[in-house]
């Protein structure tokens, strides 16, 4: 945990907006695809034409129910919508349809894993459905602003945590855990760069041991895990230094600037809104029948924690490996597919988290667009297990496979990379090495045991790395005794 100054403690609450992966908008039939030409995916309802009415997209109810279950929370039925009133050109109705008194998800918690291996329980106050606003574009229009309403009406679920997070690292662990859950549930792609997942951080500091909360600020516009950590870190340090130099903290909304790694206050005018919430009269409260909830929960996939436990039990993986693999549903699926082919869970895990991750990171790819399929990697590991190639040669095969896309066996064959397991062939290589190194032989025989490694190395070199190391060891031992 980051220690700022022993006498201070940070109190952090996160508000996470998750864009739900529905085909159409929360209250209209318009498409939600990202990246279309401005204002081509906004229908009469998204444009707030006179007389049009919202109709709830029921798909979001299923998504919210699943999320509620994953957050160990209560599902409210009936759940109701409210209008949040404010004027802005990218908010066509002049109000946002959101939820106030009866959010669909309430009173949950999430256990997060900290770096030292311990877990911490973070309370989830609520998660409510709301529609997104459009976008205001202030560049490209001389002296004017452009409005793109494609995003207007896109469904969001806002997940609000209790102020029970005490460090930037915990905040990121919580955020990653939410990210993992929404991806597991396939309710969002969680892409922070595209804005499918956005995080606002409420941060305050207080003296350790104090029961009272300090004045908090809300930092917006943080669009990656790393920036969340840095923005919170910056904000904690700023607040401590303000207070220590005798100033007070103003309750305000601040924007994070990732280039400068600072936060700055938004204009107070934008903040000082009275949203005048009241029940949305165009939508009746939604009753979620028990049968609906039950049926929805039957479609719940195995969640990250369950999967992790299963990996430990079924594949005998370490907690650490299991938890890394289970955090990402696609990665976990990849791992199981590799293991199914290779029949060795441990080697599969090592290869995925070692060589494969390194290559993916280098080329900034995710597991779904890996250049080596799970089946290919499984076959590679199988060839190690059945002694066709050594682990060292396997790395060469891996690299060739990554760049060419060819199959494992094709590469081994073509490049003549099969391991030499023919006893007489190895024996002759061993004899040759011993004959060519009489000095070392003398020293070895006079008691310099560590020269054994030298002979192994020479034999491997002679075989261009292809000799089976176990056989080389065995034969060398025998020959050197003679």
């Amino acid at each position: 945990m980051t220690v700022f100054n022993e006498s201070w403690e940070a109190v952090i609450g996160l508000e996470i907006h998750v864009q739900l992966a529905t085909n159409s908008k929360l209250f209209s039939g318009a498409s939600t695809n990202f990246g279309a030409l401005p204002n081509t995916q906004a229908c009469n309802i998204d444009l707030a034409m006179p007389g049009v009415l919202p109709v709830l997209n029921e798909e979001v109810l299923k998504m919210a129910v699943k999320l509620g279950k994953a957050l160990n929370a209560n599902i409210n039925s009936p759940t109701s919508f409210a209008r949040k009133n404010y004027f802005y050109p990218d908010l066509p109705k002049g109000y946002q349809i959101s939820q106030m008194d009866k959010p669909i998800v309430e009173d949950g918690f999430l256990d997060i894993e900290l770096e030292d291996g311990s877990t911490k329980r973070i309370g989830v106050t609520r998660a409510h459905l709301e529609e997104d606003a459009g976008k205001s574009l202030h560049e490209d229009f001389e002296g004017k602003s452009g409005i793109d309403l494609n995003r207007s009406g896109t469904p969001l679920i806002e997940i609000v945590s209790e102020p029970e997070i005490n460090s930037p690292e915990e905040a990121v662990a919580y955020l990653k855990s939410i990210h993992s859950i929404i991806r597991y549930l396939e309710i969002s792609d969680g892409n922070m760069a595209e804005g499918s997942m956005r995080c606002d951080a409420n941060v305050s500091v207080r003296k350790v041991g104090s029961d009272e909360l300090g004045t908090r600020t809300e930092t917006k516009n943080v669009n990656s895990f790393r920036f969340v950590e840095k923005a919170i870190q910056y904000e904690i340090e700023r607040q401590i230094s303000e207070i220590e130099s005798g100033n007070t903290i103003t309750q305000e909304t601040r924007l994070y600037n990732s280039q400068a790694n600072t936060t700055r206050p938004m204009r107070t005018k934008e903040y000082a809104n009275d949203y005048r919430y009241f029940p949305e009269p165009d939508l009746l409260p939604v009753v979620l029948e028990d049968s609906f909830i039950k049926k929805t929960l039957e479609q719940m996939p195995e969640m990250p924690n369950e999967k992790k436990l299963r990996f430990v039990n079924e594949y005998d993986l370490s907690e650490y490996d299991a938890s890394l693999l289970a955090a990402d549903r696609d990665l976990a699926n990849y791992f199981e597919e590799v293991t199914g082919e290779s029949k060795s869970a441990k080697l599969s895990a090592n290869w995925i988290m070692g060589e494969l991750s390194a290559e993916l990171n280098k080329e900034n790819l995710n597991i779904l667009n890996s250049k080596i399929s799970a089946k290919q990697l499984g076959q590679l590991i199988k060839r190690i297990e059945d002694s066709t190639i050594s682990g060292k040669i396997a790395k060469e095969v891996f690299e060739k496979m990554w760049s060419s896309g060819n199959e494992v066996d094709t590469i081994i064959e073509k490049e003549g990379m099969q391991q030499v397991t023919d006893l007489s062939e190895i024996e002759s290589m061993v004899s040759k090495v011993i004959d060519e190194n009489p000095d070392q032989l003398k020293q070895y025989l006079s008691g310099k045991d560590r020269l054994f490694g030298f002979f192994v190395g020479q034999v491997m070199k002679e075989s261009q790395g292809k000799a089976n190391p176990a056989q080389v060891n065995e034969i060398l031992k025998e020959k050197l005794k003679e």
Binding site: A48, P50, N85, P92, F278, D282
Partner: protein, 485 residues
């Protein structure tokens, strides 16, 4: 008999029998509009060309025996219903240039039953008013006496039907905007159960109270039109998923034994003698028809007006936020910046009554006032609704005057909003409770008509039509029509 003197039902029969064509009927009304409406000002837009086209198509269908249920009947739409590619102003400067790229479900329902649309009728701005004096397009005159108002907010629909410039008209009622003008213009007007008629494409004033309905010359004509307008609409989440019964089926059945309640809170009010006597006469008629009359109590009904004037403005303050000059409608000239755009567009685009209600509603929803105003009003609304639930355990229908008096002179109440708001004292409770209410003529005083109102239980429109129709079989008040010159 002249074509405009025929009832909607008679016109329908005439069209079916080939006594006249829809083109003749439509032309006849268009002629009357051009002769008389300059002074009445009941239409904002007359759609002569498309009306004649629709009439022609209708005549073709009659010829080929493919006639639709309301084929060829010329009606008018209140200018609150969006009509594709035709101006929809809602009586406001704010929408004085607005053409919707879609039609309201009500408009589509009626069109698919074959009606001919003569045009769009004048109304109080955004349906806020009881005299049709707040319209940006000028006041509407009462055909019975042009110095008097037709009532509001559906004043244009009422005036044009009363003056026989259309066979019937659509209208909307948030606190009495169908029933009050019906009473003041000598018409039959029904506000159905909340959710019976789709609100899709009907420009919102107060979403939880707004309901579309009909202004016509009789209960029978109203029933024919309402049946076509009604029905579940997946585009309106508050629309009721209930079958629409045949509203005419029991209309001829006697009402012997029907229980009619008289809320003592209404009859204890200080009302002019002519209102008391004509209401009493209506009660006598019902007794003669075999109805049982009971005194009942709606103990919380006096809360209705204050409750309404919190909830309706609160909802309107949000509903009217979309008129910001950004996407459609009126936009101020050369805005300096965003705030200037908002301020001047809304300052210049809205009239004073609309601004008053936006301010009241914004105030009632503000932090620190919400609990005292909006939340309390919602609780009181529940009390009023519960009173009706209780009352309908012992009676079938509830009778009262529709308005506290006959029409009033133009300008008489325009400077006194409270006096104007009292116009709706008898009609508002049905909106708060979401119940159907019908007003029909029951008398006359100094040449101006008077109306009586029946409120029914939820979804009991058929019973209201039956009771009103039986009354109209026994009396002639609904047959009185103003002589339009």
């Amino acid at each position: 008999m002249k074509l405009h003197e025929l009832s909607l039902k008679e016109q329908l029969n005439g069209l079916k029998e080939g006594s006249f064509s829809s083109t003749e009927l439509t032309k006849h009304y268009l002629d009357r509009i051009s002769s008389f409406d300059k002074e009445l000002n009941s239409f904002i837009t007359v759609t002569e060309e498309s009306a004649l086209n629709q009439a022609k198509e209708s005549d073709e269908r009659y010829k080929s025996n493919k006639a639709l249920p309301l084929d060829g009947i010329p009606i008018a739409h209140k200018d609150i219903f969006c009509t594709e590619d035709i101006l929809t102003t809602c009586g406001s400067k704010m929408l004085s240039n607005f053409k919707a790229p879609y039609s309201a479900s009500v408009v589509n329902n009626l069109s698919s039953d074959g009606v001919v649309v003569l045009g769009k009728t004048n109304m109080d701005e955004f349906a806020m008013g009881s005299s049709n004096e707040t319209s940006f397009f000028g006041p509407v005159k009462n055909p019975w006496n042009k110095k008097y108002v037709p009532g509001g907010s559906s004043g244009g629909s009422a005036a044009c039907v009363s003056a026989q410039l259309a066979s019937a008209a659509t209208a909307t009622d948030t606190g009495g905007s169908i029933r009050q003008p019906a009473a003041l213009c000598g018409l039959t007007g029904i506000k159905p159960t909340y959710g019976r008629v789709s609100r899709y494409g009907m420009i919102a004033f107060a979403s939880s109270l707004d309901q579309g309905g009909v202004l016509a010359r009789s209960a029978e004509d109203s029933a024919i039109l309402l049946e076509s307008m009604s029905g579940h609409d997946p585009k309106d989440s508050t629309s009721l998923n209930e079958d629409v019964p045949n509203f005419l089926e029991n209309i001829d059945s006697p009402i012997k034994g029907m229980k009619i309640g008289l809320p003592k809170e209404f009859f204890e009010r200080d009302l002019p003698n002519h209102v008391k006597s004509s209401t009493k006469e209506a009660i006598e008629t019902y007794k003669d028809l075999g109805a049982e009359i009971h005194e009942i109590s709606l103990p919380n009904v006096d809360l209705s007006l204050p409750v309404y004037y919190i909830i309706a403005p609160a909802e309107c303050s949000a509903n009217l936020s979309r008129y910001d000059g950004v996407r459609y409608g009126y936009r101020c000239e050369d805005p300096k910046d965003l705030e200037d755009l908002y301020m001047r567009t809304r300052e210049e685009g809205f009239g004073s009554e609309v601004k008053r209600r936006i301010l009241i509603g914004t105030y009632a929803l503000s932090a620190g006032y919400y609990d005292a105003y909006y939340l309390k009003a919602q609780k009181c609304r529940r009390l009023v609704a519960n009173d009706f639930t209780e009352a309908f355990k012992s009676v079938d229908l509830i009778l009262s005057p529709t308005t506290p008096d006959t029409s009033f002179k133009a300008g008489e109440k325009s400077d006194d909003p409270i006096e104007m708001y009292l116009q709706d004292i008898f009609t508002i409770p049905a909106n708060l409770a979401g119940l159907p209410g019908i007003s029909f003529p029951c008398g006359s005083h100094e040449g101006l008509p008077l109306g009586v109102q029946l409120v029914g239980n939820s979804l009991k429109e058929a019973q209201l039509f039956q009771a009103a129709h039986q009354f109209q079989e026994a009396t002639d008040w609904h047959k009185n029509l103003p002589e339009v010159k």
